[in-house]
Symmetry: C2
Subunit: 334 residues, 2 copies
Amino acid sequence: MSQVVSHAEPAQQKLRLMYAPIREELAQVELLLGKELSSEFAFIDQLARHGLLLGGKRLRPALVLLSGRACGPLSAEHPVVAAVVELIHTATLVHDDVLDEATVRRHLATVNARWDNETSVLLGDYMFARAICLASDLENTYVHRVLGEASRRMCEGELRQVGSRGQYDLSEADYLSIVAAKTAALCACCCRLGSHLGGATPELVEAFAQYGHHLGIAFQIVDDVLDLRGTEAVTGKSLGTDLMKRKPTLPLIRLLSEASPEDRSELLAVLGSSDDHRLERLKPWFLRSDAVGYAQQQAIVHVSRAKAQLDLVPPGPARESLRQLADFVVTRQE
Amino acid sequence: MSQVVSHAEPAQQKLRLMYAPIREELAQVELLLGKELSSEFAFIDQLARHGLLLGGKRLRPALVLLSGRACGPLSAEHPVVAAVVELIHTATLVHDDVLDEATVRRHLATVNARWDNETSVLLGDYMFARAICLASDLENTYVHRVLGEASRRMCEGELRQVGSRGQYDLSEADYLSIVAAKTAALCACCCRLGSHLGGATPELVEAFAQYGHHLGIAFQIVDDVLDLRGTEAVTGKSLGTDLMKRKPTLPLIRLLSEASPEDRSELLAVLGSSDDHRLERLKPWFLRSDAVGYAQQQAIVHVSRAKAQLDLVPPGPARESLRQLADFVVTRQE
């Protein structure tokens, strides 16, 4: 376990530096999260606290706060919105772990492994309900609409992904459209709300939303790559679940689209088998192809697009952190 | 199947009569639900339409509309709120079916039986997200707060129920407190929002909320009884799941609390066994005890309390329907 912690340290240190312009507000977010997830009922209290530890990078709260800070001083609404998006994100993590049948996340037992699927489904619902309650304190209908819309798109993306299981001929455009909904919509929502509440012009709010959108896409592509080639000790979560779940990820789509008809048939046979060692059997193919490199390159393209949006943003420490955060997304190992 | 339909008819006919004062608005609710759950993505469209059929009595929309109608003319907001609560309710049904491992509901295959648990979890989340989106159209922060609070209480009730699995010494007070959260909170929310939007005084809104609260408790007690002694052909859903899930329901709590120490030990042994015929084995005990009759009596007590709240409500067809609806809840066979 100490080995694992030492692997994870550098990322946390980098994040700490990037989060410096919003340090105080992030501490407020932690207080809010702790308060929101405390419960008079011991079982719920214990569950919710465990669930909260499953997140951890606090990337989404940071996006809200940095986007706001880049526009001017933060308002009292910013930490609240930041806590709301983290609750929504954590709810999806808890449900994802049911879906992926994952047993480890952030070096912790997932809720479904420690308790059961039933508890995970309810805990995710509870966290989402708490998010809605906390958002309603703001009495701001714009915030509600944007959060509702982002949640809807996330679920649509997840459902489309389920519908595309085993569809290894999924086009890259369809893959990107699913990822834009599943992962990027919430990141875009964070930046949109942060900058809107920071008093940005509609044009600038759009630029922030685009930054979040491209950052989210890059984040997901990197996640796909890490699921293929990360190590559990470093990423702190169950790996190879994409293959097991027959998800057409970008490296896989690329591998198949570039393969000869014979290779393609052979690959599809491996993918269609119920062999537990599919990941091992596919490794040589990945090593011979440009698939992983191509996926990483695409992630870098989206990070560049994200950073380009920041040209419209007034210079300062918050903008610099957003720039570094974009780079971090593609270089992270966990 | 035709047998099943003929069983179900009388209930539908009764509801049609009770819903007469809100017929047009209920038709609008159906249109809204159809529109909200349509999707450009064929897989999502198919799933959501199937999910929507799992509800059916439209009890919660009717509570919103009748509570409003009892106060005066309905506003454009009423059908929207009615559709929102039905979406939230349907989302919980879809998730409940994952939790209960139920395979049949309203004579239809549940989503988890026809597709899988993963799809059910996501579909429930999607419906809840659509509910939040639809609610945000209203630009009414009171509606948001009340909906958020009701959702939170529902989830808390469900989680407390999971935490109480196998706790057959649960007190009747704790049972009622769980049911108040799990089932009654949404009914109370429906009546609160319907009357509030209908321009009722705060005092009258409280009376409506209390009506919904007691109606919801009665509804859940009857559900517990039906799960024990209904027949699948009539109720149209999987039965005996409460026993399987080791839920301490009111009839069971009563049976155990009234049993002699020897009988109690024997009963706990049956309940603790993994015997598939527990329901059959418990039947003679139930027949000898007052447990089912007692539970039904408690349901009637709560229905009386619900109806007593209506004394504050101006007389008219909507109030009459609310009175009949309360009676229907305890006499229903499905």
